[in-house]
Symmetry: C2
Subunit: 347 residues, 2 copies
DNA sequence: TCGCTGTCCTGAAACGTGTCAAACACCCGT
DNA sequence: ACGGGTGTTTGACACGTTTCAGGACAGCGA
């Protein structure tokens, strides 16, 4: 069907070895033959067969990226960072979406193993996937993204989520909140647990107990889950009801915000919200979201760099990189003087 | 390095052919040998080499998806639809981002050709990419996504964007707007041009001329471009300034909204906004966006189905599918009675 | 005993590359 | 005429699979 190197050789009247040389080391072949071969390539529309190259070379020119939720802009920003450095290195990227489900994750990892990817970038689901261990044992470099490495024998690019939690919680405490919800508690993702730990620590330091913190578990880290959690909060007796929430990510925060608005709860006046990730849409929300900012694209590009270095082999040393998050304060957690003013203006 | 079928054969004391049979037609091999082979596979951790399979079989088990902007949730929804059906069919997906730049698109198409993907799903950049034609000439199925086919000899899954434009424009006209901006005009994307054509048609029908329509061109279809366009609108002399805008997509609409809010222009009271795509974030915006809804995920899954059918070969007939968009009216284009009420309540 | 029919297994070939030792052609200096 | 470069091209092999014609062997009927 598609023209092969042999067809090109035939047409140009040379051996296949020469064609291969034209493609890979053009300098060793004389100008006239090179021309002849190149024009044969052009008329036949010859394109290298990457699978054959891979088979012969013993290593592919692809990597895999497995994310928890492709619909979460945080991960598309990460993916963009990954793609940038991968493409620059001439690698193609298999982008896989695990939907935070271990079975889907396993299936994707199996496929990536069969494809013999040079390495895998992954934000794993909560539980340690045995397929991931198998992959590493087979010698495939694996770099964890937005997740700390459980041991020093692998690379990881993460964010200090305990600090992130402290920033978010501390901010709300400063604002005077004494009954704070953490939304997204049931997730078995370490990232989320660390965020919770951070909030917990700062609350304990400020109030001397955990009583001020209400942990609301959710089924997923999505907008819908956020809405559902907000509905639960509104349903609480006023005496116990939190006056603010730290959400495990921005999608949930957006959901919480939507539901609060729908139920007529004024944000931030009656309920303050802090999100996490600082995706672009956080700033564009109904009430611009205060959020914990992470270097999203850098997370991806740095992880890809580490993966390439490890795949290259010589003298790679594992790196566990931890970025520091920062708090971006917006309206969702402020006492909204401006809006008050707005209202006083009248219609 | 990695165990091959030969290692397995050796360990199990059988020929490579038998191992292959165990993998591909387990029924033709006797139970005891099958067991022996399977256990050898297990202890060696053998995984098929997909490149070798591909080389031998003559066709790969991968497809390519090229989108205009991976950061646009519209495309991640499409991607999700694609991934669903591709994975169900045992195919891996190369997700590529062209950033609406022909060179990037070409580069991606070259890589996909080298990978010998079974087919390509693509939302092409404005100009017809010669690499795309080459690919088709080589016999690689190409299905256009969110884009009409220029000819009947290929599959496409699109949306009736003229109708979408009419819906958006008609809605604003009904609301009494007589000076309407279309934002995103310079884009050479046919989708955008059709949306504009729809708006134009409906405006002409209603007012008898094109004077009521102001076309604002932008560099890209992003939030930033939307902000920039909004700033230009605010800068116009009041006599010429539009009172409403149809945006080429929701990202731009969000940008317009942000800038209007920032400049103190009240939406929708002083300026109404209609977006396009109805991404999830449209409903969560500062002022929930009226938007033209497209079946995002279905667009992707249907396109993937067509691609698979075409790749399978036997008796494929090209299909040009056109979905009908619907208008989802939200606050950004309404006269906000509720807010007025809210204001009268006072602080 | 012989031939026949299955069942199960083997071994070689092929897919498209890249590599590498060896062959070849040519020129220069002696 | 000969040896020694230098510069260019060749051809065979290997990578890991799948496929397929055919071989080995057992069971069975004649």
């Amino acid at each position: 069907m598609a023209a092969s190197i042999r067809d090109v050789a035939e047409r140009a009247g040379v051996s296949v070895g020469t064609v291969s040389n034209v493609l890979n080391r053009p300098d060793v072949v004389s100008a006239p033959t090179r021309e002849r071969v190149l024009s044969a390539i052009a008329v036949l529309g010859f394109v290298r067969n990457e699978s054959a190259r891979h088979l012969r070379a013993g290593h592919s020119r692809t990597i895999g990226l497995v994310v928890l939720d492709i619909a979460n802009p945080f991960f598309t920003d990460v993916a963009r960072g990954v793609e940038d450095v991968a493409n620059r290195a001439g690698l193609a990227v298999f982008l896989c979406n695990s939907d935070d489900r271990p079975e889907k994750e396993s299936a994707h990892l199996d496929v990536l193993a069969e494809q013999r990817v040079q390495g895998v970038l992954i934000t794993p689901t909560g539980e340690l996937n045995p397929h991931l261990q198998t992959l590493r044992r087979r010698g495939v470099p694996v770099v964890l993204v937005d997740r700390r490495a459980p041991s020093a024998d692998q690379c990881a690019v993460a964010v200090d989520d305990v600090l992130g939690g402290r920033l978010a919680g501390g901010h709300l405490l400063e604002r005077g909140h004494r009954r704070i919800a953490f939304i997204g508690g049931a997730s078995d993702l370490p990232q989320v647990q660390e965020r919770l730990a951070g909030v917990q620590a700062v609350v304990r330091e400020a109030t001397g107990s955990d009583d001020a913190l209400v942990v609301l578990s959710t089924e997923a880290l999505t907008v819908a889950a956020g809405r559902e959690a907000a509905a639960r909060i509104v349903g609480m007796p006023a005496a116990h009801r939190p006056t603010a929430a730290v959400c495990a990510n921005d999608l949930m925060a957006l959901g919480v915000l939507q539901e609060m608005v729908r139920q007529g709860v004024r944000v931030p006046d009656e309920f303050a919200i802090v999100g996490y990730d600082d995706i672009d849409f956080a700033a564009a929300a109904a009430v611009p979201l205060t959020s914990v900012r992470k270097p999203r694209q850098a997370l991806g590009s740095r992880a890809a760099e580490l993966l390439l270095d490890e795949a290259r082999g010589d003298g790679h040393v594992h790196v566990q990189e931890v970025f520091e998050p920062t708090l971006v304060v917006r309206e969702s957690s402020m006492v909204r003087r401006d809006r008050t003013a707005d209202r006083e203006e009248g219609p």
